[in-house]
Symmetry: D3
Subunit: 252 residues, 6 copies
């Protein structure tokens, strides 16, 4: 369908840990295929997702450093590049300036696939805010008349195409109107996802939780791929919502 482009995965994550739990399998799988993967964290999750560190008496800068370090380690375990926009969390405030920074990222990374949060999450307003900014930046980055954040205009090569966008799974999927239309087999990539999870020691109980979820989504991978006559349950999965229609030359 599209001319041959180097595959490039861009993951827009509201907080420093989100990409690990929800999209670690997809990221590791892309890297295993030899593709480039880039994670951009809009904040460190320093206020809203670091309760144990606050309770331990750390201050804001310390917490940001801890979270940054953990996220860098997790990205390394997955084989992904990572960068941080440090926009603040709880709330993550949307602004034209923040979107402009993301436009720069899109143009630099030239993503062929984009992953981000879904547009609804009654438990965490930062997640849909991140998604809205990622979607807006993706559209603006396509336009040759939209300047870069330094005021320069992009060349024809610097604007981006229309990469597909996939929303990764929120913590409470049904409450967030998350109805997966893509089930990704991450069986091979799972050990790397597990290793990345283990880079986040403060949330040890989540390691099991997201391993169980991968098993559960793996069952659905099998259910939707064929009959289920007592096969062993070793397939691991992640669930996604494709936002734009799939463009394809073959129904399958």
């Amino acid at each position: 369908m599209t001319e041959s482009t180097a595959a490039s995965l861009l993951v827009v994550s509201a907080h420093a840990g989100d990409f690990v739990w929800r999209a670690g399998g997809a990221i590791a799988a892309a890297v295993l295929r030899g593709e480039r993967a880039t994670v951009v964290c809009l904040s460190y999750g320093e206020r809203g997702e670091s309760a144990s560190q606050w309770l331990a008496g750390k201050d804001l800068d310390e917490i940001k450093q801890i979270r940054r370090g953990e996220a860098e380690a997790a990205a390394a375990a997955l084989g992904a590049d990572i960068e941080f926009l440090d926009l603040g969390d709880y709330p993550l405030v949307e602004s034209p300036e923040a979107v402009a920074k993301l436009v720069d990222v899109f143009r630099r990374v030239q993503p062929t696939v984009v992953l981000t949060h879904p547009l609804a999450d009654p438990y965490n307003g930062d997640h849909p805010a991140a998604a809205r900014m990622a979607l807006q930046a993706r559209v603006l980055a396509q336009a040759i008349g939209v300047a870069n954040s330094d005021g320069s205009f992009p060349s024809k090569e610097e604007i981006i195409g229309a990469p597909p966008v996939f929303f990764f799974e929120p913590h409470q999927p049904e409450q967030s109107d998350f109805k997966p239309n893509v089930l990704l087999d991450i069986t091979e990539a799972f050990p790397k996802k597990r290793a990345a999870m283990e880079c986040l020691p403060a949330q040890k109980h989540m390691w099991t939780y997201y391993t169980d979820l991968a098993i559960r989504r793996g069952v659905q991978v099998k259910r939707n791929a064929g009959p289920n006559l007592g096969l062993p349950h070793e397939t691991m999965g992640e669930a996604y919502v494709r936002y734009y229609p799939q463009v394809t030359g073959e129904l399958a």
Copy 2:
């Protein structure tokens, strides 16, 4: 994901002409790839979609013959096999017996992909009735405890897997809650679709209508695949709704 199986496309069509207008491109594309395609028409559309022949004074049997002949010619133009269940139309009445006949078809054809009507159509109740029967038959055909219509039980090889189902486009898509999540590029296959349409001479004004629709869906193919900087508008498309989640090893 699935073990290598010979690709086999099954199209369940309420009336004799539906598969041509709505899925001719997908059928021709499958045949062009060397796959097998089978169309099963639940009725001839003899009462509800043959107004000009009734006005011309034909009787029921004559009309059924005419419609059958046209559908066979169109299927031949696409390179597909075709069969007719002759269940009657307007209304197409759902029954366990009709579904059992479809179960036989599914087990014989062993489809790897299924196409049928969407589940809502305020203008034609036969279309959702066909879809409901196709979906029910697909599930029953998976079960080793469900007998064939002759009372025999299927072997482990005769039951089917879980082939993906795609709904093809209804005549008034928005009114039928049809929100495409797959846009199929049928540029190469289109001449065969056009030839098949021309096998239906009583609906000559539809030739243009569905050619224009293919252009329109082709524009969306391009819009969803990349930027649109004055490219020529020659891409042809068909729109589909994937009913079950896509199972994949790679987001793309």
Copy 3:
């Protein structure tokens, strides 16, 4: 709100095993509170949910007996009464006669709470068929002008009120548009649910699957009840959709 009535839970289950996996916790909890619980299985799941027995060469009657025995054992483990309408499965065919039998059950059991399947399930048409019949029977059983299935008319005492209806969780919740609005704490009842699951030996891999699901829903019980500061993860849950509005004297 309602005059004091002896609490009576009625569970309408399409197949013999459904009530165990999906509602075993609610059933056991009711029994633990000293309430009566009645399960009515519309079929044994003999064709659609007994693949391993068909593969083992059993015939239809043998399979029905096996399934009946397992379901009786599971009901006993939960402390519930159980009855079987033997309407056949795959497909479970809806009919006025089948509904009339359910009307009798409703009038005999006088339920104060009703549990059944949700109205959508793309993977199993028997489940919504069971739900539609349960809902229809509940309304018909309220009407003094609707005869019992033996032709007699009910007295004023024999008709039922308007018991709340809860849909229990389908196997693939998001695909079945299942958005829970009630999260039930089944921590105390869970050992009985586990014991009931272990009465179904042919589906041993499901024991773990539904234990993991109870943990997952338990996490949501805690998330929706208060803050989550590193508490142990021992709460077990089941998810439900309340179909009619809750009637209450107090918002809580």
Copy 4:
């Protein structure tokens, strides 16, 4: 489910009168049970809901005083505390600063139940704006890393839990996608609601309108609680949408 906490109802109202018409029954019922109720009005409704006073030639400050006095009288009639954030109306502008003030309110009031407007209202954009800010503040107030508006950090006791949120009824419910899932019996509390309504003399025609609505919702209370064999129509009701799933130990 939750440890024993003093019940505390918090009502977030866009304009000075909203809480009376839409939630007066729930407020009075809470007070009658001995609970604390607090109303916070984000604005006085001085521009958008005071047409008769503008026509009478009052100026902005006079109108704010009149509205404030009426709202204080109505709150007193219900037995509730009331406070005013004076954020301006038509439009009620969302901002991080306004949300921060609400965070303070949540932490001070420690609500066990929260009432606010629904998220859609095509007739009045201030209502969904109030709801979005209330929901955001409720989540931020839970986080120990989110500072109070004076820059201090909350103690572990000052952050809040996860109180349930109920949306009260908008003026045109169907147009606002308001599908009640809780029907509250306010029969006993209604005289106090009526007294509160009568504190708003400029909207005398609303007294009858909202009394009729209470009767109408009362009919639904009875319809959803049991049979309806010619009973007198004296039950009064209010309708609500519960936003998060109900957490419970018993289905009822």
Copy 5:
């Protein structure tokens, strides 16, 4: 848009009383404009909506006669013709034969507007069943190849066009997903509607209930037509859902 046809209103009512409460204003208004109105009652509501008569010891035939007499009186008060298909209620069973009788009605009446129940009603399955049959009959009646119920084929004049369909208001609108998109001013017609209601003496409490509803919908008529600066509340209304798109030469 359409060639000049004599206006003809057809109302398809599941039970004998439904058309009065829900569409009496539209019927009376059409008659006041000099148009023809025809009501077809699919059943008498003899089982499901005649509790007081069953409690009074009447038998089935007596109840049907009473209900028929009341409905005839109400239709006369509105100025409408009425006929009865006596298909039975609770449940109203859908069948090709019942639909065929309705096809005859559509072809005889040649409606320019059709009113019926909405497609969802969790409290009464007969209402959506009536709607489904009315919608199916409307489509079949358009087809020249669909025979009349006596086996004869229609002439070109006997088939019908595509009259708009409006769903009238169910008893619990929000629970039935009833979101009105048409608000009908019935101020002038209301005295006739009230007179028709008073032909149904067994449901005296409904006279007030539906008068209050007309006032409530009248308030919405005014709200959606212009500003609301203390006008008297005398406008009466009925709410409808238009099922097919409005076809018009002018946006207004």
Copy 6:
């Protein structure tokens, strides 16, 4: 329903060209009936919809001038007044100040009908931003307590009523959840729409695209207005979504 007011159509367009492609028929039809039509363009579409001019090396001001000139010519071809708020595009940023300018427009134009973009468009965030501002301005303009942008207060005559709002068709309707409920016959007005389209020479391929769309919507005009027995396909149409309920004295 409403007192006699001079008909006045107001079209709120995000970019300079939108009103031509999507609402040119409705505008021309209004002018042909002798009504006044006013277009307000919030931006020129200078960044996001002027790729060919950027590629040709024009600068921002030149592009704005070109776009303005084309839009003025197109408005003249339709017979409409046009004004420009020059708020900038890609992104079109929402602000209270921008809304206040629109409030002034609403009060000056006194619209009896309002056209704007729909509330969802995954391909262009400026479109829903324009719609949100138009809807907010319409409500604020109704309130006598909301000042004009110069600080003066409106008289009773200067505030507006509650004109109906229609959303015009987005480029990818199904993806934008656009389900038309009004189909407008623009057959007579189409030559003027075509002439207006031809004022936009840079988008010549769109002339055919939107002519084909008018044919397609014209087919639906006919389908929804009556039977379709081989009539010539010359009707031209535009599709709209009515946002507020239609208020009418007659169902038709």
